[in-house]
């Protein structure tokens, strides 16, 4: 790391990360206090260890010039595909999806595949700048790149993450110079794809979740239960919230998977409208700062990488919060920096580390 990079160290970005991680930890301590699978103190202790590890990984990712990643992109990408393939062979099935490697350590390769896909696409768009892409057929190669990990994740029966990975890839769409009528074509294709997905890709319980989302009162005690309880938790937070570790929905465990997928409900119940809005603001600030990093990068690869990495943070956060607020079906996607879970936090750490990396080296050229 040269002197100039250290001089340009992005303290604002690091501060935003630190604030969000702190909020996340405080909130998780409350969510876990009610007693969760694995034991309250175990969960909190493990989460703190993972945060420590994440900071280390972030530092590591920052220290090596990100431009090496362009050279190694195919290796990284193929490596991630290999891990995804490995999960299919020796993976552990949890909650209906065969997405985890090793039962004890539970590493979820699809979390890392998102980042690897972004690295690969950044390399592609560096060589074929999106502003030069004017026709749909020019998208065939990047689509094929994206289709590889998405296909493997679909084979794991992990719908949520597959959709998420697709959305991450679609982050690049606004950068393209494709005319309006081509977008119409994409819309038709997307609709057809969704219909096909519904009939062939979705399991009955997944279809149920979507139906529950469209009509939450349908069966409040079975599959709509989670969504209903989450909305009750969020709503009962009111303006200022019930207070830390005071939310009854949380502390009496009416909330399902409250320390992982529904961790934002805990925040909303206990910190109310004010607390939730503040956290949303910090999240938005973090993402916006990421876009600014992309904008200010003098290097095409760095800019493309930064845009994609913002996507890997934005989409899971959006899907997760939309689900918690009853705006989207229940999809098992964790909230970055808030949810308990090693792989998600680690992949976020890599993404944030790379963003920091790009930010630091914006004057290198």
């Amino acid at each position: 790391m040269d002197r100039r990079s250290i001089q340009n160290f992005d303290w604002v970005f690091v501060l935003l990360i630190a604030v969000l991680l702190t909020f996340g930890l405080i909130n998780l301590m409350s969510a876990a206090a009610a007693g969760v699978e694995g034991g309250t103190s175990n969960v909190v202790r493990r989460h703190m260890m993972v945060i420590g590890l994440a900071i280390f990984v972030m530092g590591l990712t920052t220290s090596v010039d990100y431009r090496h990643a362009e050279r190694f992109a195919p290796v990284i990408f193929v490596g991630s595909l290999f891990l995804l393939g490995l999960t299919l062979v020796v993976g552990v099935v949890t909650r209906g999806a065969q997405a985890w490697l090793f039962s004890g350590g539970s590493i979820q390769p699809s979390e890392f595949a998102k980042v690897a896909l972004v690295v690969m696409l950044a390399r592609y768009f560096h060589r074929n700048p999106p502003s030069t892409i004017r026709q749909l057929r020019q998208l065939i190669v990047p689509l094929m790149i994206a289709a590889l990990p998405i296909g493997l994740i679909l084979l794991q029966r992990d719908m949520g993450v597959a959709l998420l990975t697709l959305l991450v890839a679609l982050t690049y769409l606004p950068l393209l110079s494709i005319p309006l009528r081509a977008w119409a074509g994409i819309a038709v294709l997307a609709a057809a794809g969704l219909a096909a997905l519904w009939s062939f890709g979705l399991k009955v319980y997944q279809q149920q979740r979507i139906l529950d989302f469209l009509d939450p009162g349908r069966d409040p005690l079975s599959s709509g239960y989670q969504a209903m309880q989450s909305r009750i938790a969020v709503g009962s937070g009111g303006l200022l919230g019930a207070g830390w570790q005071e939310g009854t929905q949380t502390q009496l465990r009416f909330l399902p998977t409250q320390h992982t997928d529904f961790v934002f409900s805990v925040l909303a119940e206990e910190w109310g409208f004010v607390g939730s809005t503040v956290v949303l603001a910090f999240f938005f600030a973090l993402l916006l700062w990421g876009l600014w990093i992309a904008q200010s990068s003098k290097d095409g690869f760095g800019a493309m990488l930064a845009v994609g990495l913002v996507g890997t943070l934005f989409w899971p956060a959006t899907i997760n919060i939309a689900m918690v607020l009853g705006l989207a079906p229940v999809i098992g996607v964790p909230l970055p920096l808030f949810s308990y879970g090693g792989s998600a936090l680690m992949s976020a750490a890599i993404a944030l580390g790379l963003l920091l990396n790009v930010s630091m080296r914006r004057y290198v050229f």
Binding site: S131, P174, I232, G235, A303
Partner: protein, 649 residues
């Protein structure tokens, strides 16, 4: 700012960097998403906040009813007859059971029950009933409780709690007196005399449990609790303690009650019948037995329909309280009443001798004395102690049925005693007017002959017999029998004596009663007396035996005693009191279909109860001498029949 930096820092080779506009588009999409979130948060938390918060409360707050333990019923010395003990139950809240098939299988193993059966019991309730607990087992053993408790975390929706449960100390002791409890039925619920009852509540169904339901029940308490998603109690918000049910102190003496019950059960096969013992000084019932009895512990927690059917269809009718509902011809015990009527009406001179040839002719019919060959010349004492029928046939015919009835009613026959109990029968004292009214027939003179020895139409309940002889014992006061000494609050802070000694005078000259009492003493104390088997060492016992015919003699003519079918066999009666000079206990014993006379079948039961009583309350002074001397003094005219030294064999 973004644009400025980008514009300034554009370097050669970096011209592929995305334009500001395009990146701004992405920022706009993100802004839109976060704006939607803030709006949605505002909608849920501010606009719908109060509504959703109350739903959150409903989620977690439950109101429990705290059942009050039912009040104790104790005997006169404070010994428990009925009490309340803790019972542990296990219940299932259907809405909270997860992976029900496994849950019921595990529960089945823990409770040693069939899992499918449990699942069936809970069923698949809909609507609000999903949230209402279904009891699977209401009285867990400690082992079962420990098993369920230790697996509770693996069984969401399964809850255990403690409830008060009625327990009767004696197996069948005083069963009819105590009565039964059971789940409230629709009819009782509809009556809503007490509004706080709910389906599934336990109420008294018979006996004291029924009569004093309001007092025994106590007052419900309530508790608002916070529960978690599995229905487990997390925290108590507020609580109103239940007020335990009040105590009822009976006049019953458990020792006498037990001795009396055992006397019926001690025989080779259990006897059927009833016994009532009364304190003649105030009408307190000391013992009330009806045999056969049932085990009242069958009822708490719900009597099974099979058990219930068995009890109802049992030919021996164990549920019936014979002491107040059984109506029997009083037989020769009635002669004491007829004797009082004779003396009081000036028709009978007790010392005048009447010849008994063994039969009595009236018109064309002949009425036999029970003693073939007759009693010979007998005065009143001899007629009573030998239970001479002819003597009383003559007296009865001279008095007429209406005069006999008049005196019988003074002793309390023919109408309920007023003991505060459901199901008391009035008995029957016949008269001319009654027969015209009830049967539309004229009274026949021959029927007066039967009436004068307590046969024919006459019917009396054991409690009436005991009350009547208590009146003989106390010299002419009719006390209303009662079983309740006091009604108290659970902690004894408030006491009531609702039934203290309601009495009225029989309206009979006490001298007349005293005179007949001598004959009753002779009946027990004379070596030839029919009631000799009721004698108690050291105590002067008075009494009268009776044998009441169940069917006409023609039906069993020529049969040896043992060949007579049980249902045709005579009832045996004994009624008496002691100590004769200052009576403390009067009692009536009826043994159904004994096949033996009252002296042989009923007197021994009375003897056991009296012996127990005087073991607890010894007569002062040297028992034998006292008895003899007092007997000699008191009996006066009858002194010659009670030879000192023979008084207590």
């Amino acid at each position: 700012m973004i644009g400025k930096v980008a514009a300034e820092s554009r370097l050669p080779g970096a011209d592929e960097a995305p334009s500001e506009l395009r990146i701004g588009l992405i920022a706009l999409i993100m802004l839109a998403a976060f704006a939607i979130f803030v709006v949605r948060l505002f909608q849920l938390q501010i606009v719908e906040g109060a509504d959703l918060a109350s739903r959150s409360e409903r989620n977690s707050i439950r109101t429990l009813r705290l059942e009050a333990p039912r009040g104790d019923i104790v005997d006169r010395e404070g010994r428990l007859l009925a009490t309340t003990r803790p019972a542990f139950r296990v219940r299932v809240i259907p809405s909270e059971v997860r992976s029900s098939e496994r849950a019921y299988r595990v529960l089945g193993e823990l409770l040693d029950r069939d899992g499918d059966e449990l699942a069936e019991k809970v069923g698949v309730p809909v609507g609000r009933r999903r949230f209402q607990p279904v009891a699977l087992e209401t009285d867990l053993s400690y082992l079962q409780l420990a098993r369920v408790e230790s697996h509770r975390y693996a069984l969401p929706g399964v809850v255990t709690d403690m409830t008060p449960r009625r327990h009767y100390e004696g197996e069948r002791t005083a069963a009819h007196l105590l009565g039964t409890i059971g789940e409230i039925d629709a009819e009782e619920l509809a009556r809503d005399a007490v509004p706080s009852y709910r389906a599934g509540d336990v109420v008294g169904k018979s006996g004291l449990e029924h009569r004093h339901e309001a007092h025994l029940r106590g007052k419900l308490g309530g508790r608002n609790i916070v529960v978690d998603v599995a229905g487990q109690e997390i925290e108590v918000i507020d609580e109103v303690d239940p007020v335990p049910g009040g105590r009822i102190v009976l006049t019953i003496d458990l020792d006498l009650q037990r001795v009396a019950e055992e006397a019926f059960r001690a025989e080779e096969f259990s006897l059927r019948g009833a016994l009532v013992a009364i304190d003649p000084r105030n009408g307190e019932v000391l013992a009330m037995v009806s045999e056969p009895a049932y085990d009242p512990n069958l009822f708490p927690g719900g009597v099974g329909s099979e058990t219930w059917n068995d009890l109802v269809s049992d030919e021996s009718r164990p549920l019936r309280n014979r002491a107040i509902s059984g109506q029997y011809p009083p037989g020769s015990t009635y002669k004491a009443v007829v004797a009082v009527a004779g003396i009081a009406e000036g028709i009978l001179d007790p010392e005048e001798k009447v010849f008994c040839p063994g039969e009595y002719r009236l018109g064309r019919r002949t009425y036999r004395c029970w003693k073939r060959g007759g009693h010979g010349e007998v005065n009143l004492d001899q007629a009573v102690l030998g239970s001479c029928d002819v003597y009383f046939y003559k007296l009865g015919v001279e008095l007429g049925v209406d005069k006999i009835g008049e005196y019988a009613r003074k002793f309390g026959f023919g109408s309920p005693t007023g003991i505060d109990f459901q199901g008391e029968m009035p008995g029957l004292v016949p008269s001319r007017e009654w027969k015209e009214r009830a049967r539309g027939e004229r009274w026949l003179k021959g029927e007066t002959v039967s009436a004068s020895i307590g046969q024919g139409f006459n019917l009396a309940t054991p409690i009436q017999l005991a009350q009547a002889f208590a009146t003989f014992a106390n010299g002419g006061t009719v006390y209303r029998p009662h079983v309740i000494k006091s009604i108290e609050s659970w902690d004894g802070s408030a006491k009531r004596y609702p039934e203290r000694s309601a009495s009225l005078s029989a309206g009979i000259d006490p001298d007349v009663i005293r005179r007949v009492r001598q004959s009753l003493i002779a009946t027990v104390q004379d070596p030839d007396g029919t009631g000799a088997r009721a004698r108690v060492e050291g105590v002067l016992v008075a009494g009268k035996t009776g044998t009441s015919q169940v069917v006409g003699l023609e039906q069993i003519k020529g049969l040896e005693d043992e060949d007579i079918p049980i249902r045709y066999r005579d009832h045996a009666l004994f009624v008496g009191f002691a100590p004769a000079e200052a009576p403390e206990i009067a009692l009536a014993v009826v043994v159904e279909h004994a096949g033996k006379g009252g002296g042989a079948a009923a007197a021994p039961i009375a003897q056991k109860v009296l012996a127990k009583y005087f073991e607890k309350h010894p007569v002062e002074g040297s028992p034998v001498l006292t008895a003899s001397r007092r007997g000699g003094i008191d009996t006066g005219h009858g002194a010659e029949t009670i030879a000192p030294g023979e008084a207590a064999p």
